[in-house]
């Protein structure tokens, strides 16, 4: 009898695997939305289906993807981080200010610098972004207030800090960041992608593996799914929330640096709409705002959807010779439609 048991388990595993690859219909809702949007632009916009468009989409989506990874952790935890945009801004500003210090490249950022100074100039702001996230986590857990409020306060703090250290001036960033933001790796056939896309891919992959294959990742899901149940099972849910917000601060920092590199300098007007775009991306992918459900794969779909929308609308507005100022309005309208469509498809899949 005992010898039968392992074979029996393999049989169950086989059934599980067979039912696996297409999943639930609700898993497909974000794909359908993305496909619908691509088809729409392919039909309406001349020259949309070209490698160049794909490159533009990926390049624009890179920063968004990096920031969305951390936000996905936080949303799955059942929390939210409103400070990502300003933490990204602060990190980039800190990097720029440090880089223009006399001990580094000096004013204008043109002086000679050794590689380890550059490393320190990049690492220190990144560490500060991690600490900012950690701080909002500790305060959220300690005060038992919603992270919504705590990170709203942190958003203002980070914004204020960025204004204070930059004195509203423009700063240069290290050359390596510029290269990450703009230099391309050729992939053959005349197609090339910027380094930032590969950085984003690495962050996405790391996030995915952490969420799906580590204990911490599982605890993130369970903490968001039912915090009391996770606590009763011995999960230290406070630590999970703190770690989630710390990760989110850190990825926001990375995103801020990559964005500054892409724009080749730091100014206070960067990253203003990063927060809302990132939240929209994560939610477009189908990650629940109430925690427990979602994933990096979904976030990737969300980021692609968002960036296809952006790129496509730009092209469409130019082609139709509309006033450029109508873009935010259209973007909002289409985003609303996409979110509603997603919601309907997901619910239909559930019933």
């Amino acid at each position: 009898m005992t010898t039968d048991v392992p074979r029996d388990i393999e049989r169950v595993l086989k059934t599980v695997r067979r039912g696996r690859w297409w999943g639930e219909p609700s898993d497909w809702a974000p794909f359908v939305t993305l496909a619908a949007i691509v088809v729409f632009f392919a039909l309406t916009t001349r020259g949309f289906l070209q490698p160049g468009t794909l490159r533009l989409v990926l390049q624009q989506g890179a920063v968004l993807a990096i920031v969305s990874v951390g936000l996905t952790f936080v949303l799955i935890c059942g929390e939210i981080d409103l400070s990502v945009g300003m933490v990204a801004l602060w990190t980039a500003c800190a990097c720029g200010v440090l880089f223009e210090c006399p001990f580094a490249a000096g004013e204008g950022g043109d002086g000679p610098v050794s590689w380890w100074v550059v490393a320190a100039v990049i690492a220190a702001p990144l560490l500060s972004s991690l600490l900012l996230g950690l701080a909002s986590g500790v305060v959220t857990v300690g005060s038992r207030l919603p992270s919504f409020i705590i990170t709203l306060a942190l958003m203002n703090i980070a914004d204020g800090m960025a204004r204070w250290i930059t004195n509203s001036e423009k700063f240069a960033v290290p050359g390596i960041l510029k290269r990450i933001g703009n230099d391309r790796i050729p992939l053959g056939g005349g197609f090339s992608l910027p380094y930032s896309v590969f950085v984003a891919a690495a962050v996405l992959l790391a996030g995915h593996l952490t969420l799906k294959h580590t204990r911490f990742g599982r605890f993130v899901y369970m903490t968001g799914g039912n915090r009391e149940a996770a606590r009763l099972a011995g999960v230290r849910t406070s630590r999970i929330v703190v770690a989630g917000l710390a990760i989110c601060g850190w990825t926001a920092g990375i995103g801020g640096l990559v964005n500054a590199g892409r724009l080749e300098s730091v100014t206070l007007d960067q990253n203003a709409d990063l927060l809302l775009s990132a939240v929209a991306c994560v939610v477009l992918g189908g990650t629940s705002l109430f925690g427990g459900e979602g994933g990096i794969g979904r976030t990737l779909i969300g980021v692609l959807t968002y960036s296809v929308l952006q790129v496509g609308l730009n092209a469409l507005v130019v082609q139709l010779e509309w006033d450029d100022r109508i873009r935010p309005f259209l973007m909002g309208l289409v985003l609303l439609g996409a979110l509603v469509l997603n919601g309907i498809l997901a619910r239909r899949g559930d019933s």
Partner: protein, 494 residues
Amino acid sequence: MLLECRGISKRFGGSAALDGVDFELPAGSAHGLVGSNGAGKSTLMRILAGALPSFEGRVVIDGRPADLSSPRAASRHGIAMVHQELSGIGSLSVAENLFLGRQPVDRFGRVRWGLMRATAAAYLAEMGIDIDVRRRLDSCPLVLRQMVEIARGIHSGARILILDEPTSALSPPETRGLFGLLRELRRRGVAMVYISHFIEDVLDICDRVTVLRDGRRVGTFDAGAMTKHSIVHAMLGRNVEDEEAGYERAMELPERSAGPTVLDARGLTREPFFREISLQVAAGECVGLYGFVGAGHQELAHALAGALRPRTGQVRLEDRSVPLGDTHAAVRRGLVLVAADRAATLVRSAPIFMNVTLAHLRSAVGAWITRAKEIRAALPVLDRVGCVPREPTRPVRSLSGGNQQKVVLAKWLLGPIRALVMDEPTRGMDVGAKQEVLKLVRELRDQGAGVLIASTEPELLLAHCDRILVMRRGTIVREFAGESVDRGQLLRSA
């Protein structure tokens, strides 16, 4: 005939939850509905309550076809349902919950708070409950929440009252109070459908009993002509040896076991639930903690396992102190809790296997988690607790209450269990699942774990415990050990 159902069928996916069931209810009657978990009781009642609009068959009320397309439509026909799961709103007061959606208002539309509170207090007083109705519902113990639920159903002005497992959280005096009230309602012409696993209760309050099995009606019987045994027989289609049959006679509690003390609590206090509690549980011993609802024994169970932090006191497990209110430390050391409220102990949207591996991921699965590894780890324990169906990827919320509790047990079985603390572990479970769970608990005890069961059911404790402590208003008032005790003695001492 007030209510007539003809040929009611309902399919979920491919399987029939109900298959051509007939059912009728004259005014002023009480009709019991019994069956194992999954027999279709809840499906039938949800259809009547308008929660499942798409079904086959015909429902006639007062001789006219009834529209049961929504809960609102059902309530227009005078159907009210008291759910097994608590559906009150935790952040509102007890009084507001009692009058949810029908607060008394004056002619300007302002809520008449004074009247509402006074009426709410009067309703609860009828059931023998005396609390401040301004308290938030979620600050009340489970039993009170259930009483509020029942009171809301009773006073909704319904002609047909559906009660789904109303007494599962109630202690005997409260059950008696409720039954008195139900009889009064019947005299006023209210008909009721009473669903319960407590067959004595069904036979006590109902005049007819319908037995369902696998979505079909086995038969409808006069309650007077049936016994608990014959009903169970009809439910299961086989004779079960009823372990709790002997409780009316005195039970002989065995001499105290000589095993070393596993769980040792001293001076635990958490106002207003319990104060200065000291108790010991030995290895291989099952200790019962009996009390009426609100006696504090349920909160004490939670506190022992770290789920609730006592203000003062000490808990020691195998001679080492366990930090108070720290479930992480407790679980690591093998001090685990099986609570009554499955909604608080399971992540219901997550698959079964993830719930099973949650507490012992590292030891059972390792540092790198894959689905296959997890299922391999989870299946043996799921089989050991007898969880059906064997589809570990199904979400826990799709399981019946009994199977959900088995998942909780399976979760703990993956790691060490030195002391097992249970709070109403078999609440709302059918006879078969109950026996399976308790058999497993006995096995764990025989393997040397210390077991503590807090319950308001004397039968459960008398049938399964080696020693029984009785709690009243937050203190232990009596201990039964190595002597003979019956249900009456237990009830009288609490």
